[in-house]
Symmetry: C2
Subunit: 391 residues, 2 copies
């Protein structure tokens, strides 16, 4: 087990009707002026926005609003949010939405207390030293951003999708009411499931040794996600399955399944180029990249992939043919993605083999010569993985 530091200070308020507590939680957090940040209006149509505003009004806290966050959230709105926060002396950002809204809120929270261009942080030119506090009312189980240290923003010109991690990005509170996910489109639900699983994969496929406890915790979470996913795809208003998925999604990315081990993140980096260039849903892009990444790296640690196949994908073991077992595990995972109607090849997301040189070029600009930790990949490897994803 590697040495580690783990701290997850976010107060998770989980369950039915918990969004009514948002006023009290803002009060507890000493918020004086709140920027309510959200997406493209579904929270207004669903009535959630009104309920949140009512709760804020009840505690007499001042607020203003900034909607319009889109999937693969853009720097343009982040700049707008920063300007608003500075001008109106906002001291708290309430993200009402999913990963994109939360990531946008986090980027604003850093930029609002910085004189320069917030993109400096994403370009690693400056370190984040302070942020406004961010709170969350979660509406999509996917990104785990409600408990994570990360924010991923797409720069529009020149086109770049980049992530930034800092402990300062952990929200102070996150309200998670599984009922709010009942109305998610099936595609979003499915993409979210791939995303949360990928957050576990990025940590599970590790070179670190003697990590059996977290291996088992991760396997328990993955098995449960797969089971509950099958339920909610059929019955989107199954509260218990939604609740299970919601909490799994949070712990998949709050770091608790990453302690004591190196993590990888190559698949995420490879996918970011897809969603940056073609603006596809991150989870859908991951469903394309994960099987390709796994098949390419399987031989680097057959035993770990074999373990995954047996423990998570329930493949029958065959000690004499570990590679076969490992490959079967990947096949079954891909079949699971397909069962969620997720794409698993370039063709299905309208990309072609001709796009690969540009993807690799962009990847190189963002990560340099190498990417990943489980197996360190060169740009030549990246190219081959993209090719595998073409099929």
């Amino acid at each position: 087990m590697d040495n580690f530091i783990f701290q997850s200070p976010t107060k998770f308020v989980f369950g039915k009707n918990t969004e009514t507590q948002v006023g009290t939680l803002l009060k507890e957090s000493n918020a004086k002026k709140v920027l309510v940040h959200y997406g493209t209006g579904s929270i207004k149509r669903s009535g959630l926005f009104d309920r949140v505003i009512k709760a804020i009004n009840e505690v007499g806290i001042d607020y203003l609003e900034l909607g319009g966050v889109v999937p693969n959230p853009r720097d343009t709105l982040v700049y707008k949010g920063i300007e608003l926060c500075k001008k109106e002396q906002v001291d708290f950002i309430l993200a009402v939405g999913g990963g994109s809204v939360i990531d946008s809120a986090k980027a604003i929270s850093a930029g609002a207390l910085y004189d320069g261009d917030f993109w400096d942080f994403f370009d690693r030119l400056e370190q984040v030293k302070e942020t406004l506090k961010v709170g969350v009312v979660l509406t999509i189980h996917a990104a785990g951003s409600e408990g994570s240290t990360s924010s991923i923003i797409t720069k529009t010109s020149p086109l770049r999708k980049k992530g930034l991690n800092t402990e300062l990005f952990r929200p102070v509170f996150a309200i998670i009411n599984p009922e709010l996910t009942f109305t998610l489109p099936t595609y979003q639900t499915a993409a979210g499931i791939v995303d949360m699983m990928s957050h576990i994969f990025e940590r599970y496929f590790t070179k670190s040794k003697n990590v059996i406890l977290v291996d088992r915790l991760s396997e328990a979470t993955m098995v449960t996600i797969i089971e509950a996913a099958k339920v909610i795809i059929k019955n989107p208003t199954d509260y218990e399955a939604r609740a299970t998925i919601c909490w799994a999604s949070t712990i998949a990315h709050n770091g608790s399944l990453g302690v004591g081990r190196g993590s990888d993140w190559a698949t995420h980096r490879l996918e970011h180029e897809l969603s940056a260039m073609y603006d596809i849903t991150h989870g859908a892009g991951l469903a394309v990249m994960i099987p390709a990444y796994m098949r390419y790296t399987v031989k680097s640690d057959i035993q770990r992939y074999r373990r995954f196949a047996i423990k998570v994908m329930k493949v029958k073991d065959n000690k004499r043919k570990p590679l076969k077992v490992a490959m079967l595990g990947i096949d079954r995972l891909e079949a699971f993605f397909k069962s969620l109607n997720m794409p698993t090849s370039f063709k299905e997301i309208n990309m072609s083999i001709d796009d690969i040189p540009k993807l690799v070029e962009n990847l190189y600009v963002n990560v340099g010569e190498r990417v990943g930790n489980y197996q360190t990949l060169t740009m030549e490897d990246a190219k081959k993985i993209y090719e595998l994803a073409c099929k």
Copy 2:
């Protein structure tokens, strides 16, 4: 899944040589004057005390020391600590030790900012409103107090052992170096293993429904504890097994395995009367009480005990004889405790059936007419469970 709030803000700094970071962590916590609180001197003999003091000196923070905490920590030393903190204007308590030292530090941290008698908190006459910050250098994997909300103190006159829970009791940081546990006496190691398992049992045996994710996380942790326990009992300096046990011990009691479900705590309450009256090690008392409690309550939810037997104790399932499977699970757990040389009956801890009326009388004073949540026990039930523990 029940609604829940989960927040575990403690910064866990885990791994080899991490105690050298104590100065930096105190600095980060803005400590100005530290009370270094510890037990009966083993940390002085081992050299740990000197290393800690060196690290504190290096960052130039003022400190004073208070040793002498004993297992089942006493109110008398808590009073002494409170007096010292008030007199010397201590603003941070550093607990260097195991659960007893940390619990004592937590009680002092509440009393130091209160004008009345700290026992008022334990008697539920007053609520804790503020505490001094507490940090931890852990030396015993057992109580999980390094990440928990609880403190358990023994009042010497009249004799009472009582627990108190408040979110304010979460340590700000906890340094966990598994190497520091290498020299633990085998008995302490074993008692600690029973204690950490009991923290999971108290949450695992629940009436709450649809808790499959946390069930599986709990089972993963229990299976791993049992496996690693067998290794460290044979080879106390096996770093990886110690590390596994250390982290399992922390997550067993930081609340992460208790989300979304009611917990019980009857076994703990029944045991507290044993260790209060006879000053035995808490974990040893639990090894006596757990099998008795389980056998008494098994029929209240045979399917849950059956699941435990199959998933954790690896009993072969027999759908037609669920009670038999459930009982076999309890038998195997008891056998596991015995394999650790833990006592599993009153006789082995020099208690007799004649002690039971007094135990029940004390229990009644501490908890009232009923105890527990999984199965609500009357004092008559408690008596029968104590009788079962006599054998």
